[in-house]
């Protein structure tokens, strides 16, 4: 087995093992922390399709994270207040059912990604970075100035939403649900990278001219990648909102978008498990450093700077010892 495969297996198993340990030690807070890492990992796995495989440095993925979050917040808010979401010629009721919420989160963030992608993929490089960042900020300000769903204060949901056959209020069961979704998405992303679409997308990153010359359009490849990427991050947003039972405009903030990229790069760009490693490392640092200093982010900044300047393969790159990740 390749070293990276062994490392990936260890990383993958680390979360359920740590969660089981936390359960045995009766530390539900730790389970919640691990769940948080798993959700961040999912969000960054979504971004990694666009960023790692497609070479699209999106600094606006918080838009999709927030849309997923508000999909949950809005549907659950209407369900708990017994008011319909839409009450005109059609009547749309709120819901507390996770599968329905996820579906709405995926579809609405995919639609937003389609619109943002169609505009920003007309450009490339620095323009693309600035434009995705700006559109992300647009959603942030919109969420703040739209008072119907709490504006700046956000929305609280009293009880976690339902999943058939599970008690989602039990931290371990909710973690299992999140981990199952993360596993399924990781499995799909692994397949996707090797599927015809993945080869074409990766080739378009390396050499767009080559892809055009064999009759494939890079714009459409990138747009589809951006939409799938946004949808996965949107799903993560819905889960994140459910974890906290709270949504607020901070889910849309540009820092969130920046952190997703940080997860990917800390772990290793273009590697399937890079975002998982990065998100775990970040949450671990947060957990260990924040009691030490109120200014713990300064250390994160320093570590990040050192990784970017001197350890370009990220965590997996350093441990697996292979510079080039893309296959």
């Amino acid at each position: 087995m390749r070293r990276e495969t062994i490392l990936n297996t260890l990383l993958y198993l680390a979360m359920p093992v740590a969660a089981a340990l936390a359960l045995a030690l009766d530390e539900p807070f730790l389970i919640t922390l691990i769940t948080r890492a798993a959700i961040f990992a999912l969000a960054a796995v979504g971004l990694n399709l666009a960023l790692g495989l497609g070479g699209l440095v999106s600094l606006g993925h918080a838009a999709f994270f927030g849309i997923g979050g508000y999909a949950m917040g809005i549907l659950a808010h209407h369900a708990q207040t017994y008011t319909p979401v839409i009450d005109s010629w059609i009547v749309l009721e709120g819901t507390k059912s996770m599968p329905v919420i996820w579906l709405v989160a995926i579809v609405s963030s995919a639609l937003a990604a389609l619109a943002i992608g169609a505009l920003s993929l007309r450009t490339s490089g620095v323009y693309f970075i600035m434009i995705t960042l700006a559109f992300g900020q647009m959603f942030y300000y919109f969420a703040i100035s739209w008072p119907a769903y709490g504006g700046e204060d956000g929305l609280s949901i009293y009880v976690r939403n339902d999943f058939p056959g599970l008690n989602t209020l039990d931290p371990m069961q909710f973690f299992a649900l999140v981990f199952a979704i993360l596993s399924a998405v990781l499995w799909w992303m692994g397949r996707l990278a090797r599927a015809p679409f993945g080869l074409a997308l990766s080739a378009a990153r390396q050499n767009a001219e080559r892809v055009e010359t064999v009759g494939l359009g890079p714009f459409r490849l990138r747009l589809v990648a951006f939409v799938i990427s946004g949808a996965v991050t949107g799903l993560a947003g819905a889960l994140f909102a459910d974890l906290n039972r709270f949504v607020s405009p901070t889910m849309f903030s540009w820092q969130m978008s920046g952190e997703f990229i940080v997860f990917i790069v800390l772990g290793g760009v273009g590697r399937l498990f890079g975002p998982v490693a990065g998100a775990m490392l970040f949450v671990l640092l947060e957990h260990l450093l924040s009691p030490v200093s109120d200014f713990w982010l300064i250390y994160v900044g320093a570590i990040l700077l050192l990784v970017v300047l001197f350890a370009r393969g990220g965590l997996i790159g350093s441990l697996a010892g292979r510079e080039v990740a893309h296959g």
């Binding site: 080869l199 390396q206 080559r210 010359t213 064999v214 009759g215």
Partner: protein
């Protein structure tokens, strides 16, 4: 007379004050190798780009395989059957040699929109890709990362990728560049056989190869075609001698 496979009519392209393509009209007939030669800066690459679809002409029209393609982009022209190789190798450098060829086969199958099954386990695509690699002699390097290929091997891979498309015509931009004497000779005999499958519009600096291969030669100078004819016609053309071959003799 047969219909031309490729017909370029009155193409114009200017960059500011520079008229890079100045009323170019040319045809590529089935079964022929039509060489396009000219001194550096004559506008060969600009012309090729317009034919392949990467650059929109200011005026003029292009027909390919009986239909007008002037308004189509590069991918659509490739799907219509125009196979192209680049002057500077244009490949996915991090991918393996076989993956590059499979990418071409995917283009021919017309679909990248499959999201589950590993492409390298698609027997049909891999078979087409392997066949193309075999024809250019790269079978032994199928699993090599493209970045590790020598310059000459990359040129061969360019041709192999174009082959996987099974195109109706080839547009090749200096396939001999940097190949060395023996490589050049092998490529020459390969292209010689290839013309029976599909005609080739060949831009080339290697005059031995051009005069050995070309059924017709067009000479491009300052964006204009100053002469078109057989190798003998071109050798004898006084205008060409002064504008172009004269320089070669002097050198």
């Amino acid at each position: 007379m047969a219909e031309p496979m490729l017909h370029v009519d009155g193409l114009q392209k200017a960059f500011g004050a520079l008229q890079a393509t100045d009323g170019v009209t040319l045809t590529l007939m089935p079964g022929e190798i039509h060489a396009l030669i000219g001194p550096n800066g004559a506008g060969k690459s600009t012309l090729i780009k317009q034919i392949a679809g990467g650059l929109a002409p200011d005026a003029g029209r292009i027909w390919f395989d009986g239909r007008e393609v002037t308004a189509l982009g590069t991918p659509a022209r490739a799907r219509a059957g125009l196979g192209r190789t680049f002057q500077i190798s244009s490949l996915a450098m991090e991918a393996t040699v076989l993956q590059n060829a499979v990418l071409g086969a995917m283009g021919r199958a017309g679909s990248a929109w499959r999201f589950l099954r590993p492409v390298m386990r698609d027997a049909e695509l891999v078979e087409q890709a392997q066949a193309a690699l075999q024809r250019v002699g790269l079978t032994d390097h199928a699993a090599t990362r493209t970045a590790e290929l020598s310059h000459g091997q990359r040129r061969l891979l360019e041709v192999a990728v174009a082959l996987t498309l099974q195109p109706k015509a080839f547009v090749m931009d200096e396939p001999m560049a940097g190949l060395g004497a023996s490589g050049s000779k092998r490529m020459t005999s390969f292209l010689d056989g290839l013309r029976r499958e599909a005609p080739i519009l060949l831009v080339e600096h290697d005059m031995d190869a051009v005069f050995a291969l070309a059924d017709r030669i067009s000479v491009l100078v300052y964006g204009k075609i100053i002469a078109t004819g057989t190798a003998d016609d071109i050798r004898a053309d006084p205008q060409v001698r002064t504008a172009y071959l004269g320089e070669e003799d002097a050198a």
